[in-house]
């Protein structure tokens, strides 16, 4: 973004000791009571990384159990707890906060030329609320876990399960308010704090996708909150809200649950799409193809995402006509999603592409998201869904979206903005190698699951017929490779904080406002409020040498 009018010239001496947000103040208190959006982003980064590896540990145990057809490593009851806690932790405590709370928090104020979010104290409060919710859920995990599946289907969750349903539900309920407050903060910030000259159509697409995500945070999260409240109350006082034996309706629960949880998928994938838009333009040295289409596709996905929840209930006793409508609406979501994929591809066409690590993750995202999205169309088809529902086909499909899509975007974004966040360059060779390991490990883990599902292996069982073993062994081998792949960035990024080369303000020659400040930025982000005079992504091929 051209903002050179007021911003002082970029420093050519990034190694000089300089006051920035990391060294401005010291001590635990200066972190735990900070109102700086950048420090809060790092608090989130540490917390969600912990939950990512905890959830990954449960995944590892699941895959180990499935190495052999017999249920020999854990009992079925334990297995139920493992996949439940894997789902609960990964969805609510890693994926949903991942890109918005870390990268969104760090970057949105800088991308719009502001000093901070609109409500800095509320932002800190969001993190504390997240931690309180996380504590409840961790308590449940330590005290024996929960076995309902991450979906908490009634009446099992309210009348039968004798595990820690209430503590887990309360944890998710509380954490939901952290999402709501983050979304509220983003919406108000984007509306009221844009720098002079930064009109809506000059905003980076990362900001657009976070605006769409925030709409979902604000509109969908309260519904899961009140739903889990009803589950907890029904379980506690033996009321008949969802329990059919007491006159309640279990399908009502599923409607309410999926009214949140389907849009939640877009909470996970929209921010990743925002990241990919930034990566593809930067590393192709080209303006985005069809800016407004990509921007409105985000809003379109957010809106349509609210109208498709019934496709989770095709076989739950919903009427055939409702199923047909939901099937049609689910197909419609493919349109804005495909617009994005086509526009990224068109952006790369005839660009000067450089194969840096973030771009490798962007490639990974586009490919894997496309597979995940297209298999989603299989599932939106009523007839096919009857055949593959509750099989590993579903498991593979949503992992292609959530892991292949969301985590690829997250890791791409972490690498791309790492020089800005830490002030250090990560080791490029190791990073490329890790991205390759992750890509191969991911496909080896989840592609066999498509086949397993199509052949009829049901999900959520700890034992399976012997003819499925070969594919399961492949999947478990892939998961081990994937696990190693995820450990590598963890190690070399931490290493680079101490030993990495100092990063220049703009190592990739990007045009975003966030690159117009030093790396790492000062606490107030910009010495002088920037003035924006042009469109975003004004790249020309081969113009700037990428350093680092």
């Amino acid at each position: 973004m051209s903002s050179a009018v007021v911003v002082p010239p970029r420093s050519e001496h990034p190694v000089e000791p300089r006051v920035n947000y990391l060294n401005a103040t010291y001590g635990v208190k200066s972190w735990l009571l900070t109102r700086d959006h950048k420090r809060i982003a790092l608090l989130y980064l540490a917390s969600i990384t912990f939950f990512f590896f905890l959830g990954g540990l449960f995944a590892l145990l699941i895959r180990l159990e499935l190495l052999t057809p017999a249920g020999d490593l854990v009992q079925s009851q334990t297995y139920n707890k493992l996949f439940t806690m894997h789902g609960v932790i990964m969805v609510f405590f890693f994926l949903i906060p991942s890109i918005p709370a870390v990268l969104g928090n760090f970057l949105i104020p800088m991308m719009i030329g502001a000093k901070d979010l609109a409500f800095p104290r509320l932002n800190l409060l969001s993190w504390y609320i997240y931690m309180v919710g996380a504590t409840f859920t961790l308590w449940a995990v330590v005290h024996g876990g929960v076995d309902t599946g991450w979906t908490f289907y009634t009446p099992y969750s309210t009348a039968s399960s004798n595990t820690h349903v209430i503590a887990t539900a309360v944890g998710i309920f509380i954490t939901g308010f952290s999402s709501i407050l983050t979304g509220l903060n983003f919406i108000v910030t984007i509306h009221t704090m844009r720098a002079p000259g930064l009109t809506w159509f000059r905003l980076p697409l990362f900001v657009w996708s976070h605006y769409a995500t925030s709409l979902i945070f604000v509109l969908a999260t309260p519904v899961i909150a009140v739903t889990l409240l009803m589950v907890a109350v029904e379980r506690l006082f033996h009321l008949g809200i969802f329990d059919p034996r007491l006159g309640g309706d279990p399908i009502l629960f599923q409607h309410l649950f999926w009214f949140y949880s389907h849009p939640a998928v877009y909470i996970m994938v929209l921010p990743a799409m925002g990241v990919v838009s930034e990566l593809v333009t930067t590393f192709s040295r080209k303006n985005i193809f069809g800016y407004k289409f990509v921007a409105f596709a985000s809003i379109g996905i957010a809106v349509l995402g609210f109208l498709v929840w019934g496709h989770h209930m095709f076989v739950s006793g919903q009427s055939v006509y409702a199923g047909m409508i939901f099937s049609l609406l689910s197909f419609l979501v493919a349109i804005p999603s495909a617009v994005k994929v086509f526009n990224w591809t068109a952006t790369m066409y005839k660009g000067s592409i450089s194969y840096r690590t973030p771009m490798l993750y962007a490639f990974g995202f586009i490919g894997l998201f496309t597979i995940g999205g297209l298999t989603g169309l299989f599932l939106a088809t009523l007839g096919v869904d009857v055949h593959v529902h509750d099989t590993y086909f579903i498991v593979a499909h949503f992992h292609y979206i959530m892991v292949g899509g969301a985590i690829m975007g997250y890791l791409g974004g972490i690498h791309y903005w790492w020089p800005k966040i830490s002030g250090k360059l990560y080791p490029e060779g190791w990073a490329r190698f890790a991205s390759l390991v992750i890509f191969l490990g991911f496909n080896l883990t989840f592609f066999p699951q498509f086949i397993l599902g199509y052949l009829g292996m049901p999900r959520r069982y700890h034992a399976y017929p012997p003819e499925f073993q070969v594919l399961n062994v492949m999947s478990t081998a892939g998961a081990s490779i994937l696990g190693v792949g995820y450990l590598m960035p963890m190690i070399y990024l931490v290493w680079s904080m101490r030993y990495g080369k100092a990063a220049p303000p703009n190592p990739w020659g990007s045009t975003g406002l966030e690159w117009d400040t030093p790396s790492p930025p000062p606490t107030e982000n910009f010495a002088v409020t920037p003035v924006v005079t042009g469109e975003p992504y004004h790249y020309s091929p081969g113009e700037i040498e990428i350093v680092g």
Binding site: T192, V218, P222, G240, G248, L256
Partner: protein, 202 residues
């Protein structure tokens, strides 16, 4: 300053949208069961105390008036009136909660609290229990919002006594007013849905 006021006001509106969806889940459950068990809901509704309900509705509407007057007083610099109206709003909110507590007591006494001690004459006992589950969930959640509202008003009163608010700065009063009106409006929907649906059946 202007930017801050815009931000706070927009922030509260966005929060209220969240609140609408939060209550929305319960209203959806109510709608589903009322259409499924219309007769039972009407029967159950007749056991609610319409006199106390109407009284409470009037109390809340007056409290909305005093809240609006408090915002007006702050905007026009009438500090004494601001304090009076804020306290009046608090007192009315307290009256509402007191009456609600009395009503809850009656329900407890009449075995209308869902659970093992629930008793309801006639063929609709089970469905009436769902009605009362929703009654307690919805009015309970509403009461929780009232308690939070009174807490906010307490802070406003303490700040107003120090003379913090005047025509130049009264954003907290204005934003809290939005919240208070929202909580009132929720009751305006709850009252007919819970208290009045059984009245036309004899």
């Amino acid at each position: 300053m202007e930017q801050q006021r815009d931000a706070s006001s927009l922030g509260m509106w966005v929060f209220l949208v969240t609140e609408i969806l939060f209550f929305g889940g319960l209203f959806l459950a109510y709608t589903v069961y009322r259409s499924e068990y219309a007769r039972a809901f009407a029967e159950a509704s007749r056991h609610l105390d319409i006199t106390l309900g109407t009284f409470n509705t009037a109390v809340l509407i007056v409290s909305s008036l005093t809240m609006a007057l408090a915002v007006f007083s702050a905007a026009t610099g009438r500090r004494r009136a601001l304090l009076v109206f804020l306290i009046a709003t608090m007192v009315l909110g307290g009256v509402f909660l007191g009456v609600k507590a009395v009503e809850y007591g009656h329900k407890f006494h009449d075995h209308l609290v869902p659970g093992p001690h629930f008793r309801f004459p006639g063929p609709y006992a089970r469905q009436a229990e769902i009605f009362y589950s929703l009654y307690f969930a919805m009015t309970g959640l509403h009461a929780a919002h009232m308690i939070i509202g009174i807490g906010i008003l307490t802070v406003l009163v303490l700040q107003a006594r120090k003379g913090r608010y005047g025509p130049a700065y009264y954003t907290p009063v204005e934003v809290s007013g939005l919240y208070w009106h929202f909580v009132d409006i929720v009751w305006i929907f709850l009252f007919p849905l819970l208290y009045l649906i059984g009245r036309h059946i004899h």
